[in-house]
Point group: C2
Chain length 414, copies 2
Amino acid sequence: MRFPAELQELQPQPGPSPWDARFSDSARCMVPSEVRSLFSAAASPGIVSLAGGMPDVGALPMDTMASILADVVRENGTTALQYGTAQGDPGLRRRICEVMALEGITARPDDVMVTVGSQQALDLVARVLLDPGDTVVAEGPTYVTALGTFAAARARVVQIGMDRAGTVPEELAAEFARLAAEGRPAKLFYTVPTFQNPTGIRLAAGRRQQILDVCRAADVLVVEDNPYGLLHYDGTPSRALCADAPDRVVYLGSFSKTLAPGLRVGWVHAPTELTRKLVLAAESAMLSHSALTQLTVDRYLRTEPWQERLGTFRTRYRDRRDAMLRALTAYMPAGTSWTIPDGGFFIWVTLPDGTDSRELLPRALAAGVAFVPGTAFHADGRGARHARLSFSYPSPADVDEGIRRLASVLGEQP
Amino acid sequence: MRFPAELQELQPQPGPSPWDARFSDSARCMVPSEVRSLFSAAASPGIVSLAGGMPDVGALPMDTMASILADVVRENGTTALQYGTAQGDPGLRRRICEVMALEGITARPDDVMVTVGSQQALDLVARVLLDPGDTVVAEGPTYVTALGTFAAARARVVQIGMDRAGTVPEELAAEFARLAAEGRPAKLFYTVPTFQNPTGIRLAAGRRQQILDVCRAADVLVVEDNPYGLLHYDGTPSRALCADAPDRVVYLGSFSKTLAPGLRVGWVHAPTELTRKLVLAAESAMLSHSALTQLTVDRYLRTEPWQERLGTFRTRYRDRRDAMLRALTAYMPAGTSWTIPDGGFFIWVTLPDGTDSRELLPRALAAGVAFVPGTAFHADGRGARHARLSFSYPSPADVDEGIRRLASVLGEQP
């Protein structure tokens, strides 16, 4: 297939394998992410991994989870083990509306589709809204696998920086104007507004309406990716962007961080017509989601004190964040700075001037600690002075030891 | 985006909604299938549904399934409820190789990827191999949701008829030659060789190597979709196409018909380099599959007499097929004919000359029986004289009653 001139930068380069000639243009744009290849190294014994953003599922009551699953099958097995609909279980979609209400959203079950984690929701949104060459604006840095999804869609990603309060509305407006003047206006603004991955930054309350106004003025759709919103440490959930602009915001939610990623239950809430199209896309992508795992989440939400348990998770994660902040203060050399997140899983570190986090990584692994270099979260090679540190999975003692090791490697900069 | 001239027939037509302007070209090619919209009508009380191809999950030992799930969580919960890898659980991939061996395939776990049913496998294969305008050859009729997946990929589907022994190798070769001469050679041959959906036809053993030779000579890749292969009624599994050409055949397998679709566990086996690319596509599509449902299938295969139980399923489905064949013979008017499948879920009926199955359907629903019109299984409106009847889900008595109702509607042809 020939490319229009403006798509040259997205044209995949043929590689050396005979298979390359068979691959689609989209497939040629799929390349392994730095993060994924890192995860096998990070899983080696003796390594403290501050790399993966895994929730601490060990905090779940396993006997209870086992009973819920057994009850779902015993009481409702012929539904749980059968095909379902592409949109997802109606009962679970009603519960999801209740969950969304905690962040100020008034949702109808008809506008919700259950997905294989929120990653599938993002993928389906990209397939339904993006043509090759379309422009997506995202935060810089942003969630690494979103970059992969946009690359597979052969979209152009333009990233704009944030300050400590998140995206600056004026800068977003200026970027939209620049892109429109260039003749390639932004189609989507992809944002993780609350406890962002990878920075932990929470978009300030006062900026939320402004961001929506900017997007409305430029006629840009917003994709609000919000897996961490309920994992706030100060007792106050943020009001979702979707709450104030349900006609403009596509909201992605997930039970991977508040319950268990192994169930692979996430969702998308979108304007009715878009939801209908997403259901068709889901049908061709997988026919239907697992009825078993959907009914399991539904039963968990109906029968367990899940909001109380969320409080336990918050305390657990806050303790680990505190351990990381203490360790950073205690061990890091001068010239290092970091974000102080009030929720979520991540701290974003700015390393001393002259440090390249990609060069630091092999030495850090040799010293027994893994992290993700900041370049992984940019589409254009930026981020070399940064690192994402995740405190969600290791124990507070391991967090401390990991930061101590990282600091010692930084201290012996060549 | 502009279309080359040869893609005109695939150019989506803008509809009346303001959302249409936002949808991608792919999304505009996604349209509701006749089958899906039928399923809600077919689920009404009092209707005997011969429409859906659902397995009879009621035949599963629910207490056993409940115990397996509970044991997986109690013994291995921190793995089962956590993120996994995009390629899928290594233990399950080893078991899948043992399952494939029953059809003559020598597989390595490295060349297997676990998917959300085989539908996701097909979708990912289409994304990784097809560009808009590429040509796929498929059987006519073929699996309806494969047509949806190829439409979303904006591929052109060319369907070729079968005789009672399946695809005729000489006709396939002639079609490949015609397409090459036209300058748009076939890229894939999509086939359900064993107990085909929707006809129940099994590709004759003597033709299998010939079909592979034809595809090799034309340098066309084969996608072998094989969810029904182990549901044979005569005691003999067919040798998979993949067994004799693993470098050319992409094999799609599923536990949806041999265990339970609600677990959503299928797989793809492909040449190593293609598998690697499929893993990248899966990562951007969903990060990872449910570890819980994968470990459940793995445990079922390890601890249960699953091959024996498969024998029970075969007997059950054969009894229902027999009930349908008896009823067709007893009730159907002259001029009706049908396939006699020796496995799988479906019988393909040719209606009396002059009958349009789409016009028949509303009258059949009014008489209390649902089926799928043959047009659903063609990309080009053919199939109006045909109907797919599924015997997998209703009891033998319901099968008999359903056919009696259908025949009575046919008898009062206007």
